[in-house]
């Protein structure tokens, strides 16, 4: 059992490389080394040797926990991403399925779990194994090349606090080493040659080329029509809106809505509310019980829509600013807005007032499209209040306010 080199001083020594004849031999040696208390050493074999971890006294790796955590993270990520993107942020109803649906999310939850777990296993194994690592003192040994075919090696590192070349050699030989070889520290063995970094840098630059080329190509105007790789997808056998079809008499592929079709929410079935009529007669009562809130609403709506012509008090004439301006500018076709306090208007039922607001009258334009029905009734309520205000008696004034009246 001779060494390959004469004994050298420990300075500059990376460690000792011992070769063994078989997997069983290296496992036995590993047990001996563990029992002897060595800590900085490793076993190199062409295939995983059974029970080598327990022989070496290696701690159980935490990699499975990392993989489990990554897998669970994948499940949660998918479970959150799908309902959020398709159910909450931009809800898409897909063939009538519920927006937040667990069964549809399950396949991607499974896939992401597997993907992240696999990536964690691969990446974690590399990182926890200290890889990528370019150099190792063992590569300086020619015999070490057998480590990938039929050689079993133990490398005892000089970094071990108990390292002593002679003691180490003796221990390895007594453990059954066929040969023990001291390995020298190589100054450059820890770093990759600069060619590797140059190659990576070149590859990174070259990798930018395709996106640049693609962007440039897309930005250019082209004389030829685009190539349709999937013809059936680009020219689908379906009728587009405004397309023609020989199937129908009017030649249109689009079918007009059935006569009488109205948009959802526009069915104005309540004649009282929407037309101001009850059984064909003008409604005398409001369709909804008047409230103080409705009165306030009516006041604000009146000020917006009606006061410009009829004035804030409803006197018409030139009290409204639009009317005043038209008169000042001597508009030839301007008809003065009516006063709302004439007996004719005061006697009109509320339904008729509502109808006037909705459809207009004579030169007054229709406001039905601008003002929702409920607001129009609120305006009618306010107009009634205005009418009362201009035709009030002393009895209408509350007692508390009477002292403030001028005689």
């Amino acid at each position: 059992m001779a060494t390959h080199e004469p004994h050298r001083p420990s300075a500059g020594l990376a460690g000792l490389l011992a070769e063994f004849a078989s997997a069983e031999a290296v496992r036995a040696a590993a047990s001996s080394l563990r029992n002897a208390g060595w800590t900085h050493w490793d076993v190199h074999s062409p295939f995983p040797v059974h029970s080598i971890e327990s022989a070496m006294g290696l701690r159980r790796t935490g990699l499975p926990w990392l993989v489990l955590a990554a897998g669970l993270a994948g499940v949660l990520l998918a479970a959150g991403m799908q309902p959020w993107t398709n159910g909450i942020d931009y809800p898409l109803i897909i063939s009538g399925k519920p927006l937040l649906s667990l069964p549809t999310s399950v396949p991607i939850m499974f896939e992401l779990a597997v993907l992240l777990a696999a990536l964690a296993a691969f990446g974690g194994a590399l990182v926890l194994g200290g890889l990528p690592r370019y150099g190792h003192p063992a590569f300086s040994s020619l015999h070490f090349r057998r480590a990938t075919t039929d050689g079993f090696f133990v490398f005892l590192s000089a970094e071990d606090p108990r390292f002593d070349a002679a003691a180490g050699q003796a221990l390895l030989q007594s453990a059954g080493a066929v040969a023990v070889e001291p390995l020298q520290l190589d100054a450059s063995s820890g770093r990759a040659p600069s060619a590797v970094y140059w190659a990576l840098a070149t590859a990174a630059v070259l990798a930018l080329l395709p996106p640049v080329l693609v962007t440039w190509y897309r930005a250019r105007p082209k004389p030829n029509p685009r190539i349709h790789l999937i013809h059936d997808m680009d020219f689908q056998e379906k009728y587009l809106p405004q397309g023609s079809s020989p199937l129908f008499a009017d030649g249109r592929a689009m079918r007009p809505p059935v006569p009488g079709t109205i948009a959802r929410g526009t069915l104005e079935a309540d004649e009282h509310l929407y037309a101001g009529k009850v059984a064909g007669q003008w409604a005398a009562r409001f369709p909804v019980p008047p409230t103080a809130a409705m009165m306030e609403r009516g006041k604000s709506r009146y000020a917006i829509f009606c006061a410009t012509c009829h004035g804030l008090v409803g006197e018409g004439g030139v009290t409204g600013i639009t009317s005043a301006r038209a008169v000042k500018r001597r508009e030839p076709n301007w008809v003065l807005p009516l006063s709302l306090h004439t007996p004719a208007v005061r006697e009109q039922p509320v339904g008729q007032l509502f109808h006037t607001i909705t459809h207009g009258a004579r030169t007054m334009p229709a406001h039905g499209a601008q003002i929702p029905a409920e607001d129009r009734w609120a305006i009618v309520l306010y107009v009634r209040a205005l009418q009362r205000s201009q035709n009030a008696t002393l009895d209408d004034v509350p007692q508390a306010v009477r002292p403030q009246l001028r005689p």
Binding site: H50, S54, L68, S95, K97, T104
Partner: protein, 405 residues
């Protein structure tokens, strides 16, 4: 480690086994009769009895089929670790010969024209629509019974072949017997999977003649694998305690059986969910009709219970190393999964009888225990004069030496 062979230790005394078997057979048959009486009390037409019988028949048959699957797979893979537990699986598989005569009540029902179990028994059932008429060539009483007999014939022949050669090797130690078993195992596996798929279609899927699921056979196979591995684990635990397998199995065997159990649970869950998701997503009434009674109400709770109890809990429980390397823990989950597998078969069959709620009663328990006793009787009968360990299998040393690292 009994490298020094002590064959007597690995055999259950023949007289004991025979007596116990006879006793269990009587108890079992009595139990089945009691169950029938109790279930007739609940439903005098006897339809409930038929369905309950079918549930238990499929349960025990699936366990034996899963064992046969295990045996063929071990031979295909030339596995060494499983040698000392393989005899128990071979005996479980050979027990299909006991399930064969238990087919009789179902065969008689169908041949007698009793359509309360299988609607297609009545020739007029197909008049409803064209699709059913096409199926009639397959789903008719005579062909059904002939097929069922055929399945059992094939299974019994295969199981008996593997057991016979394995037992012969106990005496002769001839390694070419191992080669013969390995040579048969690939075609045996193919034949097993095909017949198992067709059997599940015949016995279980045809309860709803309108419905079909192309993954149903795989679903049944996955469930059978779970049941068989759970049963095998329990058998090994019991036999190790009782003596025949003491020293023949190590904690490594339990670890490996536990790993296979975990894998089959995950596989079952995957297949079960795949079947559900596709049908749910397509939302076609012809397909969803089968899931409809299982989707809500009391059956809905059973479905959720299966999801949680058959998949989620055992999966996470068996994921870690230590529960599998502990006999008590593994035995607990084996019992749990056998119960879950029974509930799975129950969930497959019973909504055909009562779509509103699971009609579980004492009769079901008696039917299960009765058929179980008959099954155990068959198993004990098989143990007579046979070692419970393949004594001279050429890979026996691998089984005794291997380590899970």
């Amino acid at each position: 480690m009994t490298d020094a062979l002590n064959p007597e230790k690995t055999v259950i005394p023949s007289s004991k086994a025979g007596a116990a078997a006879a006793g269990l057979l009587l108890v079992g048959l009595a139990g089945l009769c009691c169950a029938d009486v109790m279930q007739h009390h609940q439903d005098t037409s006897g339809v409930y009895s038929l369905h309950s019988y079918l549930v238990n028949f499929c349960f025990f048959t699936s366990v034996s089929l899963g064992a046969l699957l295990f045996v063929t797979l071990q031979h295909i893979a030339r596995a060494g670790w499983s040698v000392t537990v393989r005899r128990a699986a071979e005996l479980l598989a050979d027990n299909l010969a006991v399930m064969f005569p238990l087919l009789l009540p179902l065969a008689v029902t169908v041949l007698a024209g009793n359509f309360t179990l299988y609607p297609w028994t009545l020739p007029e059932w197909a008049d409803a629509d064209h699709a059913l008429q096409q199926k009639q060539a397959y789903l008719n009483p005579v062909f059904f019974v002939a097929r069922s007999v055929g399945y059992f014939a094939v299974w019994c022949l295969m199981a008996r072949y593997f057991l016979r050669l394995s037992v012969r090797q106990d005496r002769t130690g001839d390694p070419t017997l191992t080669l013969s078993m390995e040579r048969l195992s690939p075609p045996a596996l193919i034949l097993l999977v095909v017949t198992l798929t067709l059997a599940s279609c015949d016995w279980l899927m045809s309860l709803w003649p309108h419905w079909w699921s192309t993954i149903f056979g795989v679903y049944f196979l996955a469930g059978a694998a779970v049941g068989a591995l759970a049963q095998l684990i329990l058998l090994v635990v019991l036999l190790e305690r009782a003596g025949p397998l003491a020293g023949e199995v190590t904690i490594e065997h339990y670890h490996d059986l536990g790993k296979l159990l975990l894998a089959s649970v995950a596989f079952w869950g995957y297949i079960a969910f795949s079947q559900y998701l596709l049908i749910w997503y397509a939302n076609i009434p012809e397909e969803t009709a089968w899931y409809h009674p299982r989707h809500s109400g009391p059956w809905g709770w059973v479905s959720v219970g299966l999801l949680v109890g058959h998949l989620v809990l055992p999966l996470f429980a068996l994921l870690s190393r230590w529960p599998k390397r502990n006999r008590l823990s593994l035995a607990f989950w084996a019992v749990w999964l056998l119960v879950m597998h029974w509930i799975d078969i129950y969930w497959l069959v019973m909504p055909a009888y009562d779509p509103q709620r699971p009609p579980f009663g004492l009769g079901d328990v008696f039917c299960l225990l009765g058929m179980g006793a008959v099954y155990m009787a068959g198993l004990l009968w098989r143990c007579r004069n046979r070692s419970l360990v393949p004594l001279q299998d050429p890979r026996r040393h691998e089984a005794l030496d291997f380590h899970n690292d």
